[in-house]
């Protein structure tokens, strides 16, 4: 029996790719994925490129410029999906998508849509096995986040720019940084802390229209005098904001918050307290080393209990493409497929990102649409052998009832669709 191998592929990864070799020791296989650098997909566009497209869109406002910016979003999103489908380090890839969702940006804010590829490549992927404080800095200084949560235009009321213009503070990024990215409401911050952090982050902006395009600290827009966040005094200047972010990144409440989210993602919708405590203590002891925290998740006994997590639509689609070995030439438009399932990548409705529990995905119509999507995807693999695919993708996890019905299905396509829609395949 190779139950643990198949469990590892689904629980920690993105499902088995076709008939790829099974890992020998599943824990060692997972841990090995955390070592070394992760280059990510080839050809991802840089922030400068995306900002040039945004600049053109803002300046020209022509249909061509708007279409070019939109094409960049689509292209980068598809590139990331393709990369995940082909990934041979699927645990590492899951972590990339986890952290990108933790630090959600959304194409619903058109100004940041072309930046999705650059954002993942520059702010998320390099730090997935590094220190959380470094990821937080990279995210908060990335043009995509500064545009998405409006900080690029935030101006200190007492700054030089604030005194001559009528513009001023925007607290959106500061609030979500405290609430969603770091200490969370359990950390006990107040409105005064939100405003103080917003003041420290004034001047953290983006140069869009001139080169070099990218993050720009604008001293003229920065609020002088520093501010106190969570009882801690921080100086003004760019360094003051960085120190405040480091303070928040390494705050005990942040470690608790991150540990809870990681355990919810990899263990259970209601994460067992022991699992949360274990990850939390590793984060505390290692100064927020996300690689160490990820290794700790592999060693959690609760993470090896039979799959109870419902796959998100994203997981479901990626696992289906891997199971069916559907190459890019045979796929339907993935963004349309994801739209039908209610999870267009990098398009979450709000900054808290996509739900990570079954209750967020089990609306009656939402589940039926998985059946519809399973049928649509199955139609792309007309020559596939359903029983062989069931065996290769689920192995010993395939239940007798499902196997019976696969055998009795009236067509290959329906058998494949049934497999993808089965309770076993919907779990990870």
């Amino acid at each position: 029996m190779q139950t643990e191998q198949f469990h590892a592929l689904a629980r920690f990864g993105l499902g088995r790719r076709g008939n790829e070799a099974l890992p020998g020791d599943p824990r060692a296989w997972l841990a090995a994925q955390l070592a070394g650098a992760d280059p990510g997909p080839d050809g991802a566009s840089k922030a400068e490129t995306a900002l040039a497209a945004i600049a053109r869109q803002q300046l020209e406002k022509t249909p061509e410029a708007i279409a070019a910016a939109r094409a960049l979003y689509r292209g980068e999103t598809i590139r990331l999906l393709d990369h995940a489908v082909a990934s041979q380090t699927p645990f590492r890839e899951r972590l990339v998508w986890f952290w990108a969702n933790h630090f959600t940006i959304s194409a619903r804010m058109p100004g940041c849509a072309p930046l999705v590829g650059a954002y993942v490549a520059e702010a998320i992927r390099p730090h997935v096995t590094g220190r959380f404080a470094d990821m937080l800095r990279a995210v908060m200084r990335h043009p995509a986040m500064l545009i998405y949560l409006d900080n690029a235009q935030s101006i200190g009321p007492a700054s030089q720019a604030g005194q001559v213009s009528r513009r001023g503070l925007n607290e959106n990024l500061a609030r979500e940084c405290l609430e969603l990215h770091t200490i969370s409401p359990a950390g006990g911050y107040t409105q005064a802390d939100v405003t103080a952090l917003a003041r420290l982050l004034t001047g953290w902006s983006v140069r869009v229209q001139q080169e070099p395009r990218g993050f720009l600290f604008r001293p003229r827009a920065h609020e002088p005098g520093g501010a106190t966040v969570m009882g801690q005094r921080f100086a003004d200047g760019e360094a003051g904001g960085l120190t405040a972010l480091d303070f928040l990144a390494t705050h005990p409440a942040t470690y608790r918050h991150l540990a809870t989210k990681l355990a919810r993602h990899f263990v259970a919708d209601s994460p067992p307290p022991e699992a949360v405590r274990r990850i939390e203590s590793v984060l505390r002891d290692t100064d927020g080393d996300l690689g160490a925290a990820s290794r700790a998740i592999i060693e959690l006994p609760q993470a090896w209990e039979p799959a109870g997590k419902l796959r998100s639509p994203l997981d479901f689609v990626l696992a289906s493409l891997r199971a069916l070995s559907l190459g890019p030439d045979r796929r339907p438009d993935l963004i349309s497929v994801m739209a039908g399932l209610g999870q267009i990548p990098f398009n979450a409705p709000l900054p808290n990102g996509w739900p990570d529990t079954a209750s967020g995905w089990t609306g009656p119509e939402a589940l039926l649409r998985r059946v519809d999507a399973a049928y649509a995807l199955a139609g792309r693999a007309p020559d596939a052998d359903p029983l062989a695919i069931a065996e290769s993708t689920l192995g010993p996890l395939l239940g007798a009832a499902t196997l019976d019905r696969l055998r009795g299905a009236p067509s290959r396509r329906e058998a494949l669709a049934l497999l993808l829609a089965s309770p076993e395949f919907q779990r990870r």
Binding site: R167, V194, L310, L350, T362, G363, V371, L418
Partner: protein, 397 residues
Amino acid sequence: MTLAITRRATLAGLFAPLLTAPGMSAAFAAAATSRRFVVILLRGGLDGLHAVPPHADPGLAAARSRLAVPPPGAEGGALPLDGHFGLHPALAGLHGLYGERLLTVFHAVGGFSPERSHFIAQDCLECGAGERLSSGWLNRLAAALPQKPGGAQTALAVGVSLPLLLRGPASVGSFLPQGAQRPPADLYAQVLALHRTDPVTGPALAAGMAERDYAAGVIGADDSKDTATRFSFANLALSAGKLLAAPDGPRLAALELGGWDTHAAQANRLTQPLKSLDAGILALRTGLGAAWNQTVVLIATEFGRTVRENGTNGTDHGTGMAAFLAGGAVQGGSVLADWPGLGEKDLHEARDLRPTTSLRAITRTVLAEHYGLNAATLADILPGSERDKLLKALVRA
């Protein structure tokens, strides 16, 4: 239609037992209520001072020199309500309802939670309490209403996902226009059979199938429009209205509309969502037909926004907000607000519109009047809510 009939015949035996709430049987079921109640959730925090500007308050122009909607009569000005308040010009349809006395506007309303977090405030709004509960208040209302003898589920979610507002013990249906090509009916039967004993997916899949059959019967195929139109808020509202109007259709429905979190460039960004909301209410009325006269629509958001415009021509998360009741059963034609004022000293925590009534009290009054619920049932649905004596006769008898 042939497809729907076949499917119903194939599936009837599979999911019928799941559709009846535990402890209820058709024999004891009372007649379903004829009263309809729709909740429209505006996620993101609608700026009540922009949607319903208090143009007679001098504090408005003082706090919002760039953002304030001009007073009635000025170019692009508000539509007049009662001399003190106006409606944003994109809400012309709602303004018409106000003239027919079918719209009540509430202002300076407090949410279910004092938090300025979208997520806490939305969760509390949907749970109907000051803290997160395991079910939503509209689901608890569905459970409290007389069990329907057949047809659709009592409560309907419009959209792919099931909002927290509708999660809970009562089985809920959902509706979304047909998207892609659908598989043969028997495939659904097979999938349902495999999931039947799965507590997470089984009941929802069964409910989904029943609702799709039901919707196909009431609305029919809807391939005439392009995708964008089919999924527009107005079209969803139209379909919801048709379903609610059917004699054995749902009686409660929830719709959602986003686009309200306007931290920057608010004047531009709010126009489209306001137009969508306005078109949606009118479409809902069209869909409901005669049943509109028995309908109350509650339009609510999670919090209001800062009184002063922020540094980027927008507003940040605040407290006091606006809310609306629309519908043929609404005793409307007035703005109900104990106006706290917009002067510096009047503001909540020196930044927000101070709440003088609560969404909880408004909701409680509506449910009490619309459905004649007793205090104990109301306390189950909206824990901790109290009667607000100033709120009465919101709904026509």
